[in-house]
Symmetry: C2
């Protein structure tokens, strides 16, 4: 009996805002148009006031609206599960737990923020949201969130994923969203890219440009981002807040926390509430962001101001980056193919408050398969990055005899990623060299601040 | 806050055996080879002793082994959820609840019995299981159950589904199972069918023949069935037993229960524990088995002895049947394309203890879409049959003003069925005429008992 449930009533009623607890202020975002700090009014072109307030707030606890809680309660609280069979398979004395976000209707943690974002836009009179999506998890989440609040939704989907994951597209369509492969001919940003490279696989950066451009140009339309920004990570803290309550119930506490890291939202979601106790000196914890070797933002990038998107439409943020025009190889974890990272996660890594590791694609699928065959749950390739890192630590514990408590954020299931598991089983999945030259080239184009 | 969870400790520790409470004994199965009642020894060719005992037992409560509970606890107890948004969409005064079995690792209720069957075979020294699968849900479930107990698994998959649901195949493969499109050249039964009709879409009846034939011919190999048989329905009663506890918690009780019905296992699983109270005169309930118009076993079949499979290898059972060589049209709910039905469900229907309805394919997908767009959960096409029937009753309640309590067994999610939702949205899904002639022809071939 290894699963720890909470009741609906135990759901967190407030989000935790880590900005309130940082030792020093973060560097503010800068407008790509004025070169000055981004103002509230500038952000109003694409975001509703509540979300802009949350983006800038240093209030420690922020109330979750009743109507957001009501939709979240369809699948939340999510279970915390002890991975006993996986521990046995590894022969490790470490205790491995996973917080399973795959129980959400879209199969990942992404609806936690999608629902909140749709709600705040709705109450501000917005009729329509645009967004980008990589593997399709974010687009699916926003599509269903929009449907819950009777809003329209258009999703620019990274082209490689659009063709690799046809059922993700179907899922969005089922929830009434319109799905456009990006780069597209529908925006200036898309047309620019296609002119340079008609065969572009697309990237999150390009898709963001398209979605932002459209939102900025239409009065009834706003933009929603699935990761990176402060308010997005804020909404995801329900994951870690629940996990803390669940560890309380079983009388344990994680030594290490592992989460995959693309833009940083599932990492922030699980880690920040634990980091509160670390920052206050109450309880230590080692939080490790795990990223693909082919897109090693934290481990090989630079901590500089950079654009969030290809077309330089989003604010310039201080973050670890590989350069805004870096196009990572088409790995099977589309959700982790982002050139930058959450400014908060970047700040924490730069200060040495959190750690980061990168793993190769073949390790990732091997880890996913081992986890599935022991725990019966098929992890999304994104989530399997965290599992790959846990395996290394669990095997280290086996050598030293340490019985550490390790926590994974299992951010989503792999039901829509069967094609990539097939490719792995068929031996068709290659690892990627660290794209040194492409990154060096791309880093030459950082903005001058 | 509309979700009722139970704790791991609240999981039922015993299965409920409805055979103990039937007003009269059921007609026994008959051997296709001797024409006499099937003996324990004859069943030993393909089943382990524990399961044969359960198949024949009239003991009311049967202990669930600790190791089975341990695996079930990965996802059980499953949530009971009030479908408030769906009620609002329908504008009904009825209260609609769904018991959501899609939280299992295979995405349906099927692992409830797969795990038990794999366990009993394992402790009897069996190394390998064969089975058939329609939509792939049962094959996926047995594949993962076999992997949990380190057994081998071969799945004969109905050919039409093999090509319609490639990711189901990948899922089984990921859990180490071998998947063969049926009819195949690997068995006499398969070769016979292919000789008559090289383009056969396959059917559950044919796939069962292939799997049984192989199991009967190999010492180390047994057969596992995903529905129909008494012990399978027994294992599924955890669904209804949990639901009763959950209704206790919220102080409600269903007036009507709806479940899709192919072989009868999700219907039996949710309904039998409630029927116990009905049979004892403690509390009335209307349990309705919902089937596709294209394969209307209960509503248009005959209650006679018939073979469970195409090749006449399984015991002859008294059940509602369309004839063992009836091949239903290739509808998008492969799990409901079975010519017969559970003998217990058939008995209950014949005695008027339960009801049955049939629904058209287009109603089913319309219902699935309405449910998804209001409740955010995409139902499997099988489960959407139950939803289609609930909609009718909920709209009737709207006219009469009744606030009945309606319970759906939402037996699985539709993440692997996106192709069929696409077909529906594209207007490519046709309804099927009631296949009167094919059924009349097929009914001519019932065995003479």
């Amino acid at each position: 009996m290894s699963k720890v449930y909470l009741k609906n009533d135990d759901m967190p009623k407030q989000w935790y805002n880590i900005l309130a607890d940082l030792p020093t202020p973060m560097d503010p975002p800068i407008s790509p148009f004025t070169g000055k700090h981004v103002t509230f009014d500038e952000m109003k072109a694409i975001f509703p006031p509540h979300l802009i307030e949350q983006e800038m707030s240093i209030q420690k606890w922020i109330d979750i609206p009743e109507k957001v809680l009501d939709v979240l309660s369809i699948w939340r609280p999510s279970p915390l599960i002890r991975a006993k069979r996986f521990e046995e398979l590894l022969g490790t004395p470490a205790k491995i737990y996973y917080k399973y976000e795959g129980v959400s209707p879209a199969g990942s943690h992404k609806p936690n923020t999608a629902v909140a974002q749709a709600y705040y836009n709705k109450i501000n009179g917005i009729k329509r949201l645009t967004t980008e999506t990589g593997a399709g998890q974010w687009g699916s989440s926003l599509a269903l969130a929009c449907k819950m609040f009777e809003m329209e939704c258009r999703v620019y989907m990274v082209k490689i994923s659009y063709y690799q994951k046809p059922y993700r597209k179907s899922f969005m369509r089922l929830f009434g969203a319109e799905v456009i492969p990006s780069p597209s001919e529908m925006t200036n940003s898309g047309r620019e890219v296609l002119k340079r490279n008609p065969d572009s696989n697309g990237s999150l950066g390009i898709a963001i440009s398209e979605a932002v451009e459209e939102a900025a140009n239409r009065q009834d339309t706003n933009y929603a981002l699935g990761s990176v920004l402060n308010h997005v990570l804020l909404h995801q803290t329900v994951i870690g807040l629940e996990a803390i309550k669940q560890f309380d119930i079983i009388g344990d506490y994680p030594d290490n926390i592992y989460a995959s890291c693309g833009g940083g939202s599932n990492f922030g979601g699980i880690a920040f509430p634990f980091l509160e106790k670390k920052l206050k000196g109450i309880k230590d914890v080692k939080a490790i962001a795990v990223e693909p070797s082919s897109c090693p933002t934290l481990t090989k990038g630079v901590f500089e101001y950079d654009y969030g998107d290809e077309a330089k439409l989003t604010p310039i943020m201080k973050m670890y980056t590989l350069g805004h025009d870096f196009e990572p190889p088409a790995i099977h974890a589309g959700g982790l193919r982002y050139h930058g990272d959450s400014p908060i996660v970047s700040y924490l890594y730069n200060k040495g408050i959190i750690g980061a590791e990168s793993v190769q694609q073949s390790e990732v699928f091997k880890a996913g398969l081992m986890f599935a065959q022991s725990e019966a749950i098929v992890p999304a390739p994104e989530s399997a990055h965290a599992i790959a890192a846990v395996i290394k630590e669990a095997l280290r514990c086996k050598e030293t005899g340490e019985s550490k408590t390790l926590l994974i954020c299992l951010s989503g299931h792999g039901f829509f990623d069967m094609g990539s598991y097939d490719a792995y089983l068929d031996g068709k999945l290659s690892d990627y060299e660290y794209p040194e030259e492409a990154i060096q080239e791309s880093l030459k184009h950082l903005p001058k601040i």
